[in-house]
């Protein structure tokens, strides 16, 4: 899967939980949860969305690596192979 597609899927997952998010306003390299105001319940729901879209179950130990939009995209593309 191409990076572009993964990125689009991640943004769609975020928008499913936080519909007010505008893609243009997201800074890819900045911490995501502070930009979008995702609490732990929202974050869990984003991960569930990602699970449904990509079929990847992200273990809890990897959460800390997923702090920015770029990091999530590269993590997923790594897992998707």
């Amino acid at each position: 899967m191409k990076q572009q597609e993964i990125r689009a899927g991640v943004i769609a997952a975020i928008k499913a939980i936080a519909p007010e998010v505008e893609e243009d306003e997201l800074v890819s390299g900045q911490p995501l949860r502070a930009q979008v105001d995702l609490d732990s319940m929202d974050w869990l729901n984003v991960l569930i969305e990602l699970h449904q879209r990509f079929g990847i179950d992200i273990p809890e130990v990897d959460y800390a690596r997923l702090d920015t939009l770029d990091a999530i995209v590269s993590y997923l593309s790594g897992r998707l192979g």
Binding site: P19, R33, M41, L44, N45, I48, H51, P59
Partner: protein
């Protein structure tokens, strides 16, 4: 025959706008069925009925604003004949055509109809009004049921009347007819809704700070055992079945209330009513701004997995703006968790008529002394805001310590 009244929608909600009927005349309903959808400034609320019966007549109009406590549906009790004429078969008197209203009056008050919280509703049938407010309302030709009360004991003050008059003038100005607020009618309505929610929160919090002598306590709770246990449990689970620390915190509060009835109940008209069950109001921030605290019912009796599922469902429905009337009306204590993006501690304002609020700050690692050694410990600061009319600091402290103790044995939760 009996009437179903619009139940309480929470202490800061004294009215709702009827959006939709979920039943039709002739339909059989069971206790807990959703009979109507009512819009409040915070969310669309599914109104649940509190008794079995058959719908006889719908008594309210869609689009109309309805004060809490207003009859909205006339129903026949289970087994009651379709005809309303023989009001009471045993005593029926042929000469007097037993009118419907007589039948209503004669019927035993259907206690089951009333949600527990409805009886504690902040808007009693007889609305207290200050003399100046009554006079001014009469001058303005303003019906008092259109005025939101912010005074002591839910009374209408002169200022309430002035504000309601100003709001009414504004509402009427753009057109001749009274505008009916539909929930999705654009930005103007969204702004009104936010303003209305802000007003509702302001009224409840103002009442709280004016009437409730708060005291505040806090305790830092070590969370290593709880988090280690959670990590071990979650490792084996798919993302769809994972537990959040919030589920542990809520369950611990629910269990702790069992031995502390003085923090779990409602203070109404100068009398405290301890609650036998614990319905935790969970403070949830809405994405568009504002706050709502609907109830998780009796979670002390539920498995942790169920608590998590119900919490996730409640948050999802809150954000979608779809809640049930029982959730809005009957929390017996509130928990606020400013969460992992939040601050170290929160000292909350009690949500009347409740008497306590437990707050949790951010889970964070801090220096900690354990067995004489300095270690790094994940901790959370728990706080209690409680009503001094009902409890004292000593008992409040024991309650907080109980929560802390319960969190040291997460496998027992």
């Amino acid at each position: 025959m009996f009437e179903f009244n619009l139940p309480s929608l929470g202490a800061d909600m004294d009215k709702g706008t009827l959006l939709e009927w979920k039943v039709v005349p002739g339909q059989v309903v069971r206790k807990g069925d959703v009979v109507a959808v009512v819009d409040t400034s915070k969310a669309a609320v599914d109104v649940e009925i509190w008794s079995d019966g058959t719908v006889q007549e719908l008594l309210a109009d869609i689009g109309r604003e309805i004060p809490v406590g207003t009859p909205i549906i006339a129903l026949r009790a289970p087994g009651e004949a379709v005809s309303a004429k023989p009001a009471r078969p045993g005593k029926s008197d042929k000469s007097t055509p037993a009118t419907a209203s007589a039948a209503y009056a004669a019927a035993p008050a259907p206690l089951a109809l009333q949600a527990p919280a409805t009886t504690f509703s902040a808007t009693p049938a007889r609305q207290p009004v200050s003399p100046a407010a009554r006079r001014r309302a009469a001058e303005l030709g303003l019906p008092l049921d259109k005025v939101a009360a912010t005074g002591v004991q839910g009374s209408i003050t002169l200022r309430d009347v002035e504000q309601a008059a100003a709001a009414a003038a504004q509402a009427v100005a753009p057109g001749s007819a009274k505008p009916i607020a539909a929930p999705s009618a654009g930005a103007k309505v969204a702004v009104d809704r936010n303003a209305e929610m802000r007003r509702a929160i302001a009224a409840a919090m103002h009442k709280s700070k004016q009437e409730i002598p708060h005291y505040y306590l806090s305790e830092t709770i070590p969370m290593r055992k709880a988090l280690d246990w959670l990590r071990a449990v979650n490792e084996k689970r798919p993302v769809t079945a994972r537990l959040l620390p919030a589920a542990l915190l809520l369950k611990a509060v629910a269990l702790a209330t069992r031995d502390f009835p003085e923090v779990n109940g409602l203070f109404v008209n100068g009398v405290y009513h301890a609650s036998a069950v614990t319905h935790i109001g969970v403070a949830i921030s809405l994405r568009q701004g504002g706050l709502i605290a609907p109830a998780l019912h009796d979670i002390g009796a539920r498995a942790l997995d169920t608590v998590m599922l119900e919490l996730a469902d409640l948050v999802r429905r809150c954000r979608a703006g779809s809640l049930r009337s029982s959730e809005m009306s009957d929390p017996t204590i509130t928990v606020t968790n400013l969460g992992d993006q939040g601050v170290q501690a929160v000292f909350g304002v009690i949500y009347p008529p409740q008497v306590a609020l437990v707050g949790f700050g951010r889970l964070a690692e801090r220096p900690w002394v354990e067995d004489g050694k300095l270690v790094v410990m994940p901790v959370v600061t728990a706080s209690l805001s409680a009503d001094h009319r009902v409890s004292d600091g000593h008992r409040g402290a024991l309650f907080l310590m109980r929560i802390s103790d319960l969190l040291q044995q997460p496998e027992e939760l």
